[in-house]
Symmetry: C2
């Protein structure tokens, strides 16, 4: 049979499809309202109604309509489709449909396909101990939490990349369409290659209203909508109306056209004969009433086709008999007796409308990506080690070394299951070795002088952190791997997306059927201390504070101080799953401290004493602990030790370097946390600790407030003082420089301040001289630029910490 | 003269305009490169070159081109125009132009309009102690920091609202155009009323490249661009090319058409005869080469018209004589000797091209909004007081009461200088009393059944936190007032915008010529504890953690526990300036604790002992302090006290309520911080403190880690456990409920645990019973729902704290 014949046959009975849709609508209403009497086999009574009516009806009938029609196409064409439900408030619809097709009961057997299962299905919705009101990790077939709006389309594209046989149907609500991330997501089609990637079919669902307002796109005329989406590279197919009969016909036709168009685009791109050009992809614009098929009016006020249908169209059904009747009439209008059999199962004739097995959208393995995940084959990171004969002897750019490692990760990723995201910054962040192995994806025209652009690249660059993050989330959630490098300050742009992804991970860890997915790995570079070109707007190290708020088993924060530690940490991060790993590391030339062997020991522990850097004599405790986390703070700390060592050779200084910030937390709060005993053995119980930290100092206090020696911890970090200036002037402005650190050490060691008054004054004078010099010459003093660590000794003493 | 005649006259000498443009370009290059020899009166030598070359050339010539052409139109038409510079990296261009027109030297007299001033102008750029490399608060005429991209257009609209005589020319770079917030900002035209608002003229500057990539929009064909922007409600006027002569003519024509079109739209809308319809606004699409007029090639590699022109097109000019020559040839190509006179001033003929006085874009008062700011006339908030005869006797919805106050703020705002923003949530957040005084702005068609929509409303609702935030920022920065109510969790969407605004405020406070602007006031409601409909994705109280990272003189965080305290705080916030005030308050019915008089005393102090709630006898110290911040934690704390009082009448409990979170910080760190003595007198020096906090508990630790009794502080808050459940179940899941609080109090008071073992067990049993009950009935136990505070006593003892 040809596609056309198949399609014609499959669409022959739209009346059956209408009944299937009614069944889904019925189940959706039941979930919002009913505790019992799920099949209305007795008159509806107040005690059948939930005491708290919580849920969103408005968007649901449209979502059900789309689901039922996609089922038809999937069966007709035998295609692999997943459903990304942007209007996730329509959770009842997603649950209803996966229940109808059977995938729900397979995952949750207690919600069986019978009358008792129906009762439980209704009851659990938005009910204590039950399921949330949105499409969520608990929902089969979902890769998209439907709470925070804006990310449906970008998730859909992330899922489609490198999945040539997958079609991602993505419903975009007209509320969501007003958000920034969604508005930018339309440009994702400039990065999708029809030859090697799957397809995204956007279905813009214009039901006209948000919570209490019309929507911007809902009120735009068709002509403007058509212009807009043609401008965005789509050919919109309009399906508009409220008469189900006409709408079924129109929707079936539109989907037939859309799927045929996708197939044609793909065949053309895959025949290998022509250069692929960015095609005009189909999309559907569905205009249907909000709360379609629900009560037209309640208490004389318009409900169907208006924002009053948004949540619970008719409230107080327990108390108000008239409202109870509205509800009962509404539910009975779907004729449940014609939809479900004696036992409460969907009648066989309707069951036959659902696809089978993994073709069911609730059972498509792409929507439970861990099932499909293949481990990355990683190169041996040790082979990228920088030779560090003595600490500080070699200068290197940490991220440039990492780039070589990532290049080989790309080369070894035979499953086309690894991508690198960056907002136009892969080269700026000095990861450009990856371009020896791959290019940037680019589907628009190229010029002869363009470099590193290709239709089939592993690097994705767009000037939108939202798109980078969303693509990567979609890619990971469908079982692949990735790496996101970003300017440190601008990762705040995706704070909220990070939050939602971390929440998703937290919940999926509690769902055994959701298989683990690869971790979301961030490299934050071009960081606060080295924004020489950009200044204050580019200086914000606060993302990790947000990250530290999340559940301990989800998040990791690393501050590798040099290239070899960065390599170790990156390798480690790429091997983990169901986590968010945040790695903060600079890209500028900087002294290298640890050989790969020392780096491995140090990183495995996460924290350790750098004995070679300190001036302890091994007898008893030091006078002062100089702790550091982050590359620049490490450099300044070592320079401070150097100053102190020369000025006061008798002062016993211990240097502690922290790579894994979570080691600072109590072991009870984080699996990487040090025991109090280990912590005390590093930081002492009562000696002053001068802690140079990369970010806002409060984070260190909040992680350590319960430690024995917390009162002795004096943390310096970013004090929100920034501008375009020299690297050393930046640390001086924030009093994180070697002189301030050394002065504080002198002041904190009991009795030293008087004895070393002259040394202190000498350091203060250097600060004044620095200030004068830098303002005159526009660069740092030679003694700063030329400073190198010269003390020669070996080894570091890490403390064991788990992973 | 007609407009046409004026315009024709003004555009008669485009050659002069070209020379003006060359002067701006010359000054831009000079800023990036030169320490000395600013007029090239001697051959360029290495020592004239800055040691560190920092800045962005690529976008600058285009920005200069636009600036010069806007000058022409401003003079021809005598219009008020400000320039929002999206590609803010082009800071040298903004500085050059304000210098040329004279506004720069008026603000910074040391940068005079002579050779020495030129030298200083060049030297200060991106130089330690000088000015940043971007358009920034330091830049005259700017309301827009050009660091983080995405907010130019939304700022422009914010500036245009309620400024009928203002035209905001907004340059959108093609890099920025890829971001989400910018992509959504185009829809702002659906909220701009040509009758009462000013106009925004978007100038999409397609120079084709980002840091290292072509741009998405830059590579789109004109036909697609035209469709896209027509779909977005604009009529694009294309100006494309690289021949300056032709480009000047084309740009002049395009601007003439655009300004005529704006005037025609406005006249039509303002003649009062017809209903206003959303017009198709003009916009300009300017395609010009990146790094236009700069070196074509350097070392055989393409620079002009390519991304290599992004920052410093030719580097190493101190070391490399060939590069030095490239630079010198480039600079001399502008013929500085024909642009500047003997003394180094711009020649009079060219000076005459700039507008005069406040028509100069660098001196337009709208871009220094504090100059124009009129104080809000506020109603007496006391007149909205809820009667609270006894604590807990009355139930009310705090935000609903606030809505009445805001309604009257709207009524009294005679200068049309107050707007309320909300992402479709003003009614959902129960501020709907404002609709008695005004409507939502809506320029699209309306239906007969629509409610509270009007072309001229004070409430702005769009489902984009980015737009709400950006509009409000633009509105405040141009001297008006506003209020932003938002779901607590989703304010994280604008974390990064908040960061940038706070940075802007921090810098403007250091610039005496920048007059103070009204504070940015957030109401965070629909908060973490009452997301009954929505669950985990809507539960995140972490925004305040981010806020607390900012400079102390910029930020305030308030947790009013009831309606009267909320009224006091809101009134206070609206009277402040140059701050960000964050107010967190619930919208659900809740017991009211304080009369307005008590609320005023309590809020003025920011923190206080609620003696009526405690069980102290006035002799000596309490056994335990129960502290609380936030409405739900306050409720649970009082309920816990109630439980303990009944079970253990002898236990001496002190209740401390915190409204102003910053009182917890040391006085040295925050102007609202309590002195240690005051802090100790509230929290004792050594008694256990059970602190029930609204958000993530770490924030309390980080604010108090230096306090005497920090070791005694046991903080409970949101533990990242959430779902769709009952209000009480939410606090139980996070162990913030009355039983857990009471149990911890028992456990922390020395010796009590054994004595009160039975009481503890009784509380534990109630938790088990709760869990059983809620899962069976779907609502909270009657003893929870019906609980009311019954202890009768009076007064609270606040501790003095600053404003």
């Amino acid at each position: 049979m040809t596609i056309q014949q198949k399609t014609a046959e499959a669409s022959s009975d739209l009346d059956l499809l209408d009944r299937y849709w009614r069944a889904a609508n019925y189940l959706s209403v039941g979930q919002i309202y009913l505790l019992d009497n799920p099949l209305l086999r007795e008159p509806l009574r107040p005690e059948h109604i939930k005491p708290r009516l919580l849920g969103h009806w408005g968007t649901t009938p449209g979502l059900n309509f789309i689901y039922a029609h996609l089922n038809r196409v999937i069966r007709a064409l035998d295609v692999s489709v997943i459903y990304v439900c942007g209007p996730g408030h329509g959770g009842p619809g997603m649950v209803a449909n996966t229940y109808l097709e059977g995938s729900y009961s397979e995952i949750y057997p207690s919600i069986a396909r019978d009358a008792d299962g129906l009762r439980k299905l209704f009851r659990q919705f938005s009910f204590p101990g039950g399921i949330p009101s949105h499409a969520a990790p608990e929902t089969p077939g979902s890769i998209h939490e439907g709470g925070e709006l804006g990310y449906a389309l970008v998730h859909a594209y992330g899922a489609a990349f490198d999945n040539p046989d997958l079609i991602v149907a993505c419903v975009v609500g007209d509320g969501e369409a007003e958000t920034g991330p969604l508005a930018a997501s339309w440009h994702s089609n400039k990065f999708l290659n029809p030859a090697h990637d799957g397809a995204v079919l956007p279905i813009l669902h214009l039901n006209g209203y948000k919570i209490a307002n019309p929507t911007v796109l809902g009120r735009m005329q068709d002509a403007e909508i058509r212009d807009l989406f043609r401008g965005l590279g789509h050919e919109p197919l309009f399906v508009s109306g409220d008469d189900p009969k006409l709408m079924h016909r129109a929707m079936a036709d539109a989907l037939d056209v859309a799927f045929a168009s996708i197939r044609s685009i793909q065949q053309h791109a895959r025949d290998g004969r022509t250069r692929v050009e960015r095609p005009r992809w189909p999309m559907i614009v569905l205009r249907s009433p909000k709360g379609w098929t629900g009560p037209k009016e309640v208490d004389g006020k318009k409900v169907e086709g208006f924002w009053r249908a948004h949540q619970v169209p008719v409230a107080g059904c327990r108390e108000n008999p008239a409202h109870l009747k509205v509800l009962e009439d509404w539910m009975r209008s779907y004729e449940p007796e014609k939809l479900f059999d004696e036992g409460g199962a969907l009648i066989a004739e309707l069951q036959a409308l659902a696809p089978e097995g993994t073709r069911r959208m609730g059972a498509n393995p792409h929507a439970n990506g861990g099932v499909l995940k293949k481990e990355l084959k990683l190169p041996d990171f040790r082979s990228f080690a920088i030779e560090v004969p003595q600490p500080g002897e070699v200068v290197a750019e940490a991220t440039r070394e990492l780039g070589k490692f990532l290049r080989d990760v790309v080369r070894l990723a035979q499953h086309r299951n690894f991508r690198i995201m960056g907002p136009d910054e892969t080269a700026s962040n000095r990861l450009d070795a990856v371009f020896e192995a791959t290019e940037r994806v680019w589907m628009e025209p190229t010029e002869p002088y363009d470099v590193h652009l290709a239709q089939d690249g592993r690097v994705m660059e767009v000037l939108s952190e939202h798109l980078c993050q969303g693509w990567l989330e979609g890619y990971l959630l469908t079982g692949r791997h990735g790496f996101f490098s970003c300017y440190e300050a601008f990762i705040h742009i995706v704070d909220s997306m990070f939050n939602q992804h971390a929440k998703w991970l937290k919940v999926t860890r509690e769902l055994p059927w959701r298989r683990p997915i690869a971790s979301l790995n961030y490299l934050l570079t071009s960081h606060v201390w080295r924004q020489d070109h950009n200044g204050f707007s580019h200086q914000d190290p606060g993302f990790v504070d947000l990250v530290a708020n999340k559940k301990a088993d989800i998040v990791r924060i690393y501050f590798p101080p040099d290239a070899n530690t960065l390599l170790w940490i990156a390798d480690h991060a790429l091997r983990t799953y169901n986590r968010v790993n945040v790695i903060v590391a600079g890209k500028q030339p900087a002294p290298q401290w640890l050989s790969m062997q020392d780096a491995a020991t140090h990183c495995a522990a996460g924290i350790g004493i750098w004995t070679w850097a300190g001036t302890e004599d091994g007898k008893g405790e030091p006078d002062v602990v100089m702790a550091c986390a982050g590359d620049v703070p490490t450099l300044e700390t070592l320079a401070a030790v150097d100053l102190l060592r020369k000025a006061m050779p008798d002062l016993k200084i211990r240097v502690v370097n922290v790579v894994d910030l979570m080691t600072l937390q109590p072991r009870e709060q984080h699996p990487h946390g040090l025991s109090d005993r280990d912590f005390d053995s590093l930081f002492t119980r009562d000696k002053p600790v001068i802690f140079a930290y990369h970010g806002y100092p409060y984070l260190i206090h909040r992680l350590t407030y319960n430690r024995t020696n917390h009162a002795g911890m004096h943390v310096r970090g970013f004090a929100e003082e920034g501008t375009t200036t020299t690297p050393f002037d930046m640390v001086v402005l924030n009093e994180l420089d070697r002189y301030h650190l050394a002065i504080e050490a002198i002041e904190r060691v009991p009795g030293l301040a008087t004895k070393a008054a002259q040394v202190k004054q000498q350091f203060r004078d250097r600060l004044i001289e620095h200030s004068r010099y830098v303002r005159e010459h526009g660069e740092d003093m030679p003694e700063i630029r030329d400073w190198v660590w010269q003390n020669r000794a070996g080894g570091n003493t890490p403390t064991e910490a788990g992973d």
